[in-house]
């Protein structure tokens, strides 16, 4: 069972995504901002995939991707955000994000993307 780490400051988003992914057969962990997420990764959490929001308090998604990439070089990291600025998308790409998804993303579409970046999931 593949392990996905969700990072979002919205409780609704976490509930929505967690439910979607668990029904689809994934193990899910969550964090409510970038700083907490980074702390979990530094403590040894090794998910198969990270899905992170971009606009979050304390540490945003861009900073999280940058720091997470130092710890986990090869796992896919997807940004799932309302942010539509092309500049941020380009920055995420530059620092090692695997993909950029603009909210809302349908549950089926999200699972399809995850299966694309996680072969065998």
């Amino acid at each position: 069972m593949k392990h996905i780490f969700l990072v979002d400051d919205s409780a609704t988003m976490l509930m929505s995504l967690k439910g979607t992914l668990e029904i689809s057969g994934f193990k899910v962990d969550t964090a409510t901002d970038g700083e907490l997420a980074l702390s979990r990764l530094q403590q040894g959490l090794k998910p198969d995939l990270i899905i992170t929001d971009i606009n979050m308090p304390r540490m945003d998604g861009i900073a999280l991707i940058r720091e997470a990439r130092k710890l986990l070089r090869f796992i896919p990291i997807l940004a799932l955000t309302t942010e539509s600025q092309q500049g941020k998308r380009e920055e995420a790409k530059k620092i090692g994000a695997t993909g950029w998804l603009v909210k809302p993303v349908g549950g089926s579409d999200l699972v399809a993307v995850i299966r694309q970046v996680l072969p065998g999931a």
């Binding site: 955000t81 950029w100 809302p104 993307v113």
Partner: protein, 401 residues
């Protein structure tokens, strides 16, 4: 106080913001970038006389208030557009969720109906199998009882047959005895005939008697032979009868076993129906559950609208807060208690755009500003289009790098 010129303030603020954002954007990483920052700040400082030369004459408080009031309609149009976008997002999501919940209900009902049918069918199959099992048990019981009775009868008959055979065998010495008596009688008759011949005419009568005795002896011998043949015939008949009894017993058992075999075949056929039925049912259940799961997954996805609306409303809330603050400052300006606000309302509206994160917010802003203009100037449509292009779509909704 109206001595301060807004554009100068803007220039100073822009320089400060430029400096601060540059520092944070550079993230203290590059010496070369720091040099660039210093160069930018120096240019800003050197440009001060030019900025001062090009500043317009300061505005009167009346002009400021008049301009802001004229812009107020645009501000409300922007907020109205943003609220409309929020409402539309909610409506779309709730409608979608409602439709999906309807499908979930229909699929659940269909699954329930199918399950009820399956339970009824299973109950029928179970009852049939139970009846067949009872029938088999009854048949086996009857067969055992029949076999028991037959065995008893067979043993009884066998005993009787054996008794008859023994009795018949006991008759065989009698036939031998009769035959021996006949032979002795014949010898006596021969001797009597010899003695009668020796006696001459006085023995003539005795000769007749001897002849009669010999004839009687021959008849006795013939009777003894017939008795022996009769005994052999009866013994053969008894053997045939015993074999016949055994043969019928085998036929009866075979018939019972054939019936049971037929029943077992019937039961196998019934069980043969159950397996494909359960397999088909399992597939239908899987497909139904998959449909329900897909709808639930998409409904959970629709719930993301709450996060989108939260961000839209937070931006509207911030905008209303800044608007309230702005007009409070205007009120103080009219009272002569305070300088004009640092930004005109038009500039404040532009500042709102820096808080936008969604494409829909930027589009709503552009549309609201242009839609709220009292007259539609020639060529405005193309201007709106170019502003929408500037707002940009932000790229595809799903992009893998």
């Amino acid at each position: 106080m109206l001595t301060q010129l807004p554009k100068r303030r803007v220039a100073a603020a822009a320089l400060a913001v430029f400096a601060l954002t540059s520092v944070f954007a550079l993230d203290w990483l590059s010496l070369g970038q720091l040099v660039c920052l210093a160069f930018g700040l120096s240019l800003g400082w050197l440009a001060r006389p030019w900025i001062a030369h090009n500043e317009p004459q300061r505005r009167s408080s009346t002009e400021v208030v008049a301009q802001d009031i004229s812009t107020l309609q645009q501000a409300f149009a922007v907020l109205k557009q943003q609220v409309s976008a929020t409402i539309q997002t909610s409506e779309t999501a709730v409608m979608s969720m409602g439709q999906r919940m309807g499908r979930v209900h229909e699929n659940s009902q269909a699954l329930h109906t199918r399950l009820v049918e399956a339970v009824q069918h299973s109950e029928q199959l179970s009852a049939d199998s139970l009846a067949q099992s009872e029938h088999h048990a009854s048949a086996v019981s009857q067969l055992a009882e029949h076999q028991q009775r037959f065995e008893e009868a067979r043993q009884h008959l066998l005993a009787r047959v054996r008794g008859s055979a023994e009795q018949v065998r006991q008759l065989t010495p009698l036939a031998t005895l009769i035959s021996e008596i006949s032979r002795q009688t014949n010898l006596l008759a021969i001797n009597a005939a010899i003695e009668a011949a020796r006696a001459g005419p006085e023995g003539a009568g005795f000769k007749v008697v001897a002849a009669e005795v010999r004839r009687l002896s021959a008849q006795t011998a013939d009777a003894a032979r017939q008795v022996a043949e009769g005994i052999a015939h009866v013994a053969s008949g008894i053997d045939t009868e015993a074999q016949s009894l055994q043969l019928h017993a085998g036929e009866s058992a075979a018939k019972q076993l054939n019936e049971i075999a037929q029943h077992i075949q019937d039961m196998s056929a019934t069980l043969g129906e159950v397996v494909p039925y359960l397999s088909e049912l399992s597939k239908e259940m899987d497909a139904g559950v998959d449909r329900v799961s897909a709808d639930i997954v998409d409904t959970l996805g629709d719930m993301q609208f709450q996060d989108i609306n939260r961000q839209l409303l937070e931006q509207i809330n911030d905008a209303l807060g800044s608007l309230s603050n702005h007009f409070s400052q205007l009120y103080q300006l009219i009272d002569g208690q305070a300088p004009p606000p640092p930004l005109l309302l038009e500039e404040l509206l532009q500042l709102w755009t820096s808080n936008y994160v969604m494409h829909s917010q930027r589009v709503a802003h552009v549309l609201a500003l242009n839609g709220s203009s009292s007259e539609v100037a020639t060529g405005q449509a193309s201007a709106v289009e170019s502003q929408l292009e500037l707002a940009g779509s932000g790229g595809p909704r799903i992009e893998l790098f």
